[in-house]
């Protein structure tokens, strides 16, 4: 139980975390003397190159794996008598 509670404990609010992309945006804004909003597009364009946006095989794999996990979780909840919203569109 302690491990599970850990995820929402105060402890996590003490560590400072810096998002890598945010750091890059701030750096560019400072270097160019421009706003974060103006700095963002160029930085984001570079950053997206490191992400598998055009890899449908990878995306589908991740999505389907998660969908399977959700199905299993749904079955578990149904066994417990919990009814959850049916998201099917038909």
């Amino acid at each position: 139980m302690a491990d599970k509670i850990e995820k929402t404990s105060d402890k996590h609010y003490e560590d400072k975390f810096e998002f890598p992309l945010w750091k890059l945006i701030k750096q560019r804004a400072e270097e160019k003397g421009i706003s974060y909003a103006k700095a963002a597009p160029a930085v984001v364009a570079e950053y997206t190159k490191t992400i598998k946006y055009r890899d449908p095989e990878f995306e589908d794999k991740v999505i389907m794996a998660r969908a399977e996990e959700l199905n299993e979780l749904g079955k578990k909840e149904e066994k417990l008598g919990i009814k959850f919203k049916d998201k099917k569109s038909k």
Binding site: T8, W22, A45, D60, V62, L70, I82, S89
Partner: protein
């Protein structure tokens, strides 16, 4: 007439088109109307460069595209059916159909205005196919729109339209039932402005401020209302209502579990954008399926709340996608996370308790498919509405931009034979008196105090689980707040905004509570504890509310059926698709 007006008003403007609201929809309409040769005036209570729901950016365009680019009746009717299960009903599917029909034209139009519709490699990037069976979500584009508002702002400036930033509409001007313009006040200078217009267009966003925002620090992060910033006081709804137009489905709130003040990655939003859903947990770490209202109530009874989102199962690639989503839509998320030390790789994010948010996509200003505002079954001459504030059945940029562009395309023809508007001076005098009154009140109440009281009534007496006694008590208490409007003071013209917003919120809270009193059933996510069953007589119907000759009218209406030509269109399109499929 104009001479008299100039004695009352600091400025009188005569224009073909008055656009109230400079969000995405308003900017698109203005740029297009100017392109079509019209004289256009835009008023915006904030500044067009960062105002409206898209002020901080947008990361997706839910433009109803399907991957093969089709728009079929099946899409439309499925959506209606799906939402019908949750207690809502499109008042007029023809609007939705018209919006669906032209999405690729809108794509081109937005590109022409300088809006980046394509991904970094120059091609559109379709949102990955996410949940099995969640059909709607294969119909959107992922976009980098951090700066969509400055981009559209530039387009509007280039168009040569008359732009009045920091200018808030007071009320619409009417003559013989027609809308002939509006009065407004500059909230920096206090300048009182009269705008005579052949056509008055309203796109002021969704009503959100009858309920609490997602953050417990509302005044610090006030602008971070989900879907909309602080401007979302339902100004357009109130203008239309007081001018005799109908509001519909005002009993229907949207509700959702939103991440509280942590990151503004909303419930489901990342799954919408990139296909990978977050995990939902009870406070003590048990993973659960995203609960519906009934299940959430159960969790509360079991002491399992608050519930949390976790991103800690994400791959490195998904974490990076999350960052890009923040940069594209709400860069402030980084700042908040930085201030509070949040780390999506280890933290869990508290979800707001179950409570209503703004009004649903089918709620708001009643319009026909030509975006004309309706009074009963008839359009009000000279008055148009589109975007989130209209009950057009769409929300977000797609509905707003499309509505604005389509209407602006029609305007030259509409205005061709329209008479010059005539103004009723007594209305102008009355509006001026109303708007400037708080400047003369000394040591009065601050508008925020009254707004908090209105919101408290809606939270306490309407909320998620409604009952006759609570609703009636809420209405009584709301009535007692009306006198407070006259006690509000404005230290400077800037504070007139808050005062006028309170005036609008008071009217709309009353409309909302009365609609809820009228609807005596439980259906979908509309809960009446004293009427726990579906009322079959309500199937497919919705309430409309207006003021007629000073009297409030509330009517139960049937949706306007799809036009035969739209049905024919859909059938032909489907046949074409089948032929194309067979050929391929």
């Amino acid at each position: 007439m104009t001479d008299d007006l100039t004695e009352i008003a600091d400025k009188v403007i005569e224009t073909d088109v008055l656009m109230i609201g400079g969000g995405v929809g308003g900017c698109c309409a203005v740029a297009k109307a100017k392109e079509n040769g019209l004289d256009v005036t835009l008023i915006e209570k904030a500044h067009i460069d960062r105002s409206g729901s898209a002020g901080q950016g947008i990361d997706h365009y839910e433009g109803f595209f399907t991957r093969d680019g089709t728009t079929t009746l099946e899409n439309v009717s499925n959506e209606d059916w799906r939402l019908g299960r949750y207690g809502v009903r499109y008042p007029n599917l023809n609007v939705k159909y018209r919006l669906y029909k032209c999405q690729f034209w809108v794509f081109e139009q937005l590109e022409k205005l300088g809006v980046p519709m394509r991904w970094d490699d120059g091609e559109p990037y379709w949102i990955p196919f996410p949940f099995v069976g969640w059909e709607r979500r294969k119909t959107g584009l992922r976009v980098h729109w951090t700066n969509i508002k400055p981009i559209l702002g530039r387009a509007v400036r280039r168009s040569g339209a008359r732009i009045l930033n920091r200018t808030m509409a007071i009320d619409l001007l009417t003559t013989d039932g027609k809308v002939v313009g509006a009065t407004a006040v500059n909230i920096r200078t206090g300048e009182f402005i009269v705008i005579k217009a052949k056509a008055t267009l309203i796109a002021t966003g969704k009503l959100m401020r009858l309920y609490n925002p997602e953050t417990p620090m509302p005044w610090k992060y006030k602008f971070r209302y989900h879907f909309c910033p602080a401007s979302s006081a339902g100004d357009g709804y109130a203008l239309v209502y007081r001018a005799g137009g109908d509001l519909v489905n005002m009993d229907i709130n949207a509700w959702t579990f939103r991440i509280r003040d942590d990151l503004t990655c909303s419930y489901g939003s990342f799954s919408l954008n990139d296909g990978v859903p977050m995990k939902t947990y009870t406070w003590d770490g048990e993973e659960i399926i995203n609960p519906n209202a009934t299940r959430y109530k159960q969790l509360e009874d079991e002491g399992k709340t608050p519930i949390y989102f976790g991103f800690d199962h994400f791959s490195e690639d998904s974490h990076k996608r999350l960052e890009v989503a923040f940069a594209d839509e709400r860069m402030l998320s980084f700042k908040v996370a930085e201030e509070r030390g949040f780390n999506p790789k280890t933290h869990r994010y508290e979800l707001q308790d179950l409570s209503p948010t703004g009004f649903y996509r089918v709620s708001g200003i009643y319009i026909d498919e030509n975006f004309r505002v309706l009074r009963g079954n008839e359009p009000i001459e000279g008055l148009y509405a589109f975007g989130d504030g209209s009950a057009g059945g769409t929300s977000g940029v797609a509905g707003a931009a499309t509505g604005g562009l389509l209407l602006a395309e029609d305007l030259p023809e509409i205005l061709k034979d329209m008479d010059e508007p005539e103004i009723d001076i007594s209305q102008v005098e009355e509006h001026k008196q109303i708007a400037l009154a708080p400047l003369a009140v000394e040591e009065g109440v601050e508008p925020l105090e009254l707004e908090s009281a209105i919101r408290d009534i809606c939270e306490r007496y309407v909320g998620m689980f409604k009952s006759e006694g609570k609703l009636r008590e809420g209405l009584r208490r709301l009535g007692s707040l009306k006198d407070w409007l006259g006690k509000l003071s404005a230290e400077s013209p800037h504070h007139i905004t808050g005062y006028l917003e309170c005036r609008n919120l008071l009217d709309l809270a009353e409309v909302h509570i009365k609609a809820c009193i009228e609807r005596k059933e439980t259906r979908g996510n509309y809960f009446r504890s004293d009427y726990p069953e579906i009322d079959k007589d309500m199937d497919g119907k919705f309430f409309s509310q207006r003021i007629e000759n000073g009297k409030e009218i509330i009517e139960l209406r049937e949706p306007i059926p799809l036009k035969p030509e739209y049905l024919k269109d859909a059938e032909e399109e489907k046949a074409e698709l089948q032929t194309a499929d067979a050929a391929s």
